[in-house]
Amino acid sequence: MTRFASDHTASPLIFEQGQDGRANRYVDEGAPLTDYLPKDVLRGHLPLPDNSELAVVRHFTRLSQRTFGIDVGFYPLGSCTMKYNPRVNDAMASLPALRDLHPYTPDELSQGALQIMWELERTFCSLFGMAAFSLNPSAGAHAELAALLIAKAYFKDRGETQRDKVIVPDTAHGTNPASAAMCGFKVISLKSDERGRVSVDELKKVLGPDTAVCMMTNPNTLGLFEDHIHEITQAVHEAGGLMYYDGANANALMGNARPGDMGFDLMHLNTHKTFTIPHGGGGAGHGPVGVAAHLVDFLPTPYVRSRKKTNGAAHADRAPSDQLEFWLDFDRPKSIGPMRSFWSNFAHCVRALAYIYANGAEGLTKVSQLAVLNANYIRVKVRDFLDTPYDEICRHEFVASAQELKKETGVRALDIAKALLDRGFMAPTMYFPLIVPECLMIEPTETESKETLDEFIGALREIVQAAKSDPEAIMAAPQYTVVGRLDETKAARQPDLRWRPATA
């Protein structure tokens, strides 16, 4: 039943395995450091282990076997868009001339890299209806911060520094209020209506001359399309505020609707969700930030620009972008400045563009339709045995609630999630959004087959049935994973965040 080795013993740490004299020879044996530097600037002891290459290979191979990834099984993780990560993307990012390019290589000698970034940026603009994107920010939260800094700079430029309120619906991702606080904005939380949407009336009550930004995701984290979006963006604009689109859920509407057409002024993308960048265990992500025309000047630096080639050999070229030459523009006086050391998570630009090439406009449009199809298919099957509090056509994800089951059996959303681990599935997102009690948030993505969805639905149904006949068994899950439930209280009360040498 389980797909994990039932080996409960943790691997010894790499620090507990080393032996002096077991070094690998990757570089020439070097002269003593004192040959080059005075002793007082040199460190004495370097307390790191020497291990043979084989020992290191076995160590990390074993660690990989104790790790669940998309390549291992289905990830119904709401809000995270855990779709298949095509291998060709990684192969392209590993082409030596893309992988080994130094960021300070002059523009004339990095034309391929700049062209990739330019094509990606232009694609995002068209696909999401924005005037420009910066590929600078490193992740979604980072892009949110960039967007709010842009808003702050924009209002300062207009002499409207009194605008210090950011409106965030109660279904928003936790990063929204955290990012707002980092820009000195005060957060106003907006209660959702009984349909799980932003209430236009409630919104209008909090709008005013102090409104800076309203941050929304659409579809929202309940998986519901904000059908009053046009009225919402109009009301915020009338109050002089800006609309921000949290692109975490962009996989639901790519090619079928655009934040720009809805009236959003600012947005970000999580290319590690929508555009198949591997999550890599929690990063590196990639968070392009997009803006409407009135905000282009404020984008982070540098920004990739293009101009017609002066002496291009047109006959050898294959695409319109091949007629152009590109450069990094650092000279942008109104810019908020750079968000990171260098220009972009470029390897991720490569992956995202490779994915776009694999799909084209038609393919990307179909991708989100099938993502929505998969989510709704699970939803209509799951509502036979779990509550689905917002029972209507959802987008790429939906929420179910174990509240009734908990009352009846004591089994909570958390227990269901852990029981899924025993059955070879990743757990759904739990207890988010905060407004749904005992929430399970399920997002299957478009890359899963009907067979996989049926297996998952079957496992979930079986767990709910077992909860009614033998709740203790479900509450004791997981049983078949390498370890059982963790003592998180101990971890937080007596933090052990590193290994220490025995004698140090």
Binding site: E488, T489, A492, R493
Partner: protein, 126 residues
């Protein structure tokens, strides 16, 4: 756990014990129970002047975090250093060993807005 009758209570689930011009403050059994296993308590600095209803610290459980308000204003004279090593004291003995800080009252009349044990009991029943 019953609410000790000799204490005063706030709607934000703090308790106050007034002895002369010094008040001892902690969080109630109801509060520790709803937070779950407390893993960390951030306390005010000794000597700090705090205003009534000001945020003076933070109480963290494994997966929740809650601001610590002071139900009355004054100068912080002592904090419970034990909590640094053993935050679970707040779970075990919320009204005794789990006290959080003491302050010298700036205005004794501020206690008039606080609840009695019976009133607080009723509040938690609602």
């Amino acid at each position: 756990m019953a609410q000790p009758a000799d204490l005063l209570y706030s709607k934000e689930h703090e308790w106050v014990k007034v002895e002369g011009d010094v008040a001892t403050i902690g969080i109630t059994d109801y509060a520790q129970n709803s937070l779950g296993d407390i893993v960390y308590v951030e306390l005010p600095k000794v000597g700090a002047h705090v205003a009534q209803m000001g945020t003076v610290g933070v109480v963290e459980s494994v997966k929740a975090v809650s601001d610590l308000f002071t139900p009355i204003g004054g100068e912080v004279t002592e904090v419970n250093g034990e909590l640094e090593n053993d935050p679970a004291l707040v779970n075990r003995e919320p009204f005794a060993g789990g006290w959080m800080f003491k302050l010298r009252l700036s205005d004794a009349s501020q206690t008039s807005g606080l609840l009695s044990a019976a009133d607080y009991e009723q509040l938690t029943q609602e």
